[in-house]
Subunit: 365 residues, 2 copies
């Protein structure tokens, strides 16, 4: 079942369903993306330690990466990316890009000076310089970045914020979504709306009712995995995800562990992003089909086997745990490369296997 999305050039095809889970293909101007998909995070115009060639090469075969509006706006700045004709050209990435709105980073990294109904004034975490983000500014930045999928600028209250804070954030996020919806976009740039509401089901549903009529190309669940209990995350997923429009892609922002991805997929989510595979890799944690490997462990010192014998990545096919441990202990750059390639391959295969299961065991759509 192929559905055209509101933005020309985009369509979403559901291939099979298994309960709430869906296997699909998101068609974009920069290529087709089999879903469910995990999107590697390319914070500052680079998926840390990886070249575009490595990201594209099978078995990793990344079809879409994420760029951070907040980081790219501060450094290198829009003038540079505009001179390169956008983020695709600047980063030499010819497949799809999703950009976040900057909202999450402003609320988590920057020093907030003022939040009002119009936007947020903050100081850069890099040099302390003062900046202001509004829905219009976020959309203008994303327009210059030229991502395939832009995200609405939203307010992200902490998971433990009180009801009043949540309500005000929700109202603002809805008002800001409306302003983003009518803001100018780059040619061929889709826009996703974000449903907030924390772990309160009623609040989530109420916010969904405000966001869905705005006719976005896809819908994201924001404000999960921001400090709440995992049981609450999963409960909200189970209660809410499948209620997002079935014919449009559903994106769970900033999540998560391999188990979280499986739960999200079973709940009906199509897209994920998280720094976990890349950041954990650099910190010495490697995902495997068995136990997670903590590479500095002495047990790896003389282990001439691969990180994961079932993994087809170049790291596992070429290098031993002992070699990786040595590189890690010696703080060698090559360690971060090899570890990142492995963890991203693990995530890609994990999601691909779940997709195969949906296709094999599910109902053709």
């Amino acid at each position: 079942m192929l559905t055209s999305l509101p933005t020309p050039g985009f369509s979403f095809e559901i291939v099979a369903t298994l309960g709430h889970a869906r296997a699909g293909i998101l068609h974009t101007p920069h290529g087709d993306i089999p879903t469910p998909v995990f999107m590697p995070v390319g914070t500052a115009g680079t998926v840390k330690a990886m070249t575009p060639d490595e990201l594209r090469a099978p078995p990793l075969d990344a079809r879409i990466i994420l760029g951070n509006t907040y980081h790219l706006y501060l450094r290198p700045g829009l003038e540079v990316i505009e001179a390169a004709g956008g983020l695709h050209g600047f980063a030499a990435w010819d497949r799809a890009i999703l950009t976040d709105s900057g909202g999450y980073q402003v609320f988590s990294l920057a020093a907030i000076n003022q939040i009002d109904d119009d936007g947020v004034t903050f100081r850069s975490h890099i040099d302390g310089s003062e900046h202001r983000l509004t829905p219009e500014v976020s959309m203008q930045i994303q327009r210059v970045l030229g991502s395939d999928i832009a995200m609405c600028f939203d307010e992200c209250p902490p998971g433990d914020a009180d009801a009043q804070v949540h309500e005000r954030a929700l109202a603002r996020t809805t008002a800001w979504a409306k302003r983003c919806r009518i803001a100018p976009r780059a040619p061929g740039q889709a826009l996703f709306g974000i449903v907030q509401g924390g772990i309160d089901t009623a609040r989530r549903l109420r916010h969904m009712a405000e966001i869905l009529p705005l006719d976005f190309d896809g819908h994201a669940l924001g404000g999960l995995a921001v400090g709440e209990n995992l049981a609450d995350t999963y409960r909200i997923l189970d209660e809410v995800a499948h209620l997002l429009p079935a014919e449009r892609p559903r994106y769970l922002m900033g999540v998560g562990t391999p188990a979280d991805l499986e739960r999200g997929i079973l709940a009906g989510i199509d897209m994920f992003d998280c720094v976990m595979p890349t950041r954990n890799a650099r910190n010495g944690y490697l995902f495997t089909s068995g136990e997670r490997v903590n590479i500095p462990n002495a047990a790896n010192r003389l282990d001439m086997g691969p990180v994961d014998p079932t993994c087809p990545c170049a790291t596992c096919k070429t290098h031993s745990r002992a070699y990786l441990r040595h590189l890690y202990m010696a703080k060698e750059i090559l360690y971060s490369r090899l570890a990142t390639l492995h963890n991203l391959t693990f995530y890609a295969r994990h999601v691909a296997r779940l997709r195969e299961r949906i296709v094999a065991e599910g109902t053709r759509a």
Copy 2:
């Protein structure tokens, strides 16, 4: 003209000569090495930031890399490398490896506790642990590393040392060379002798007369580019290099700039190693066919052209100066990768061009 070297499996073929300069091929059990050759430095079992695949891929096409005995002995330690069957297996490098003796690092990095006629006692620069290197220990370590070419353990006095220090170091280096010459080696492992003597021509020639009769597979000039004037370096090269046996490879240790390599080649040198291309890359300095590029310079901020339009490396074919500058400023790992690949490619092509000139303009041997 093909000459078998003393160690079985090694031969040296001189293809053409131009004055003192020679174009040749060093045949080793791990492949053929066109000379003159620049050997990338793989200090700790990795050419920093590079995978073996990248080092092998044309146009870089590295045929031999260097490993540092001192670093590898301290970390990961011999037990680990022995368990991997040697450095080739540990680092997944199937081409040739030359290991230094550890002498230079002991004298430049470690805290020396004692130098005597038998060897050197020192403290590790990593954890302060005490160790002792002798000619026999250095050879034993290199035997475990299993390099294709081992180097004699030598004493390296500073460039400004007085005559007495130089004389004692020379006498020890000769005595140690004799002990290295008869020490057990790995199967198919060649051994090069090292001529010391600082910038005093007579002392150099005298030491050469002590080292040459020991019938090494090749000969190195040590103790140059250790703080002396460049004019003195070049003078010694011109006076001494061509007097090393013509039918065996000649290696100038730890040198140098592209101009130094050209001077060395014209003086009759066949092999070079230096951290300059790799270290400079990480520090923001990129070699080009024109002016050297200091990547953080503001001039690169909006420069969407490559580092060097004449360079065929993947960095220059894919990425702009502006992107590299951004990665450098943001301290992204990808910067070091792209910059190292470029500088090593520059060095490889620089030496390859000089070789082509010798073949084109010189006399067939």
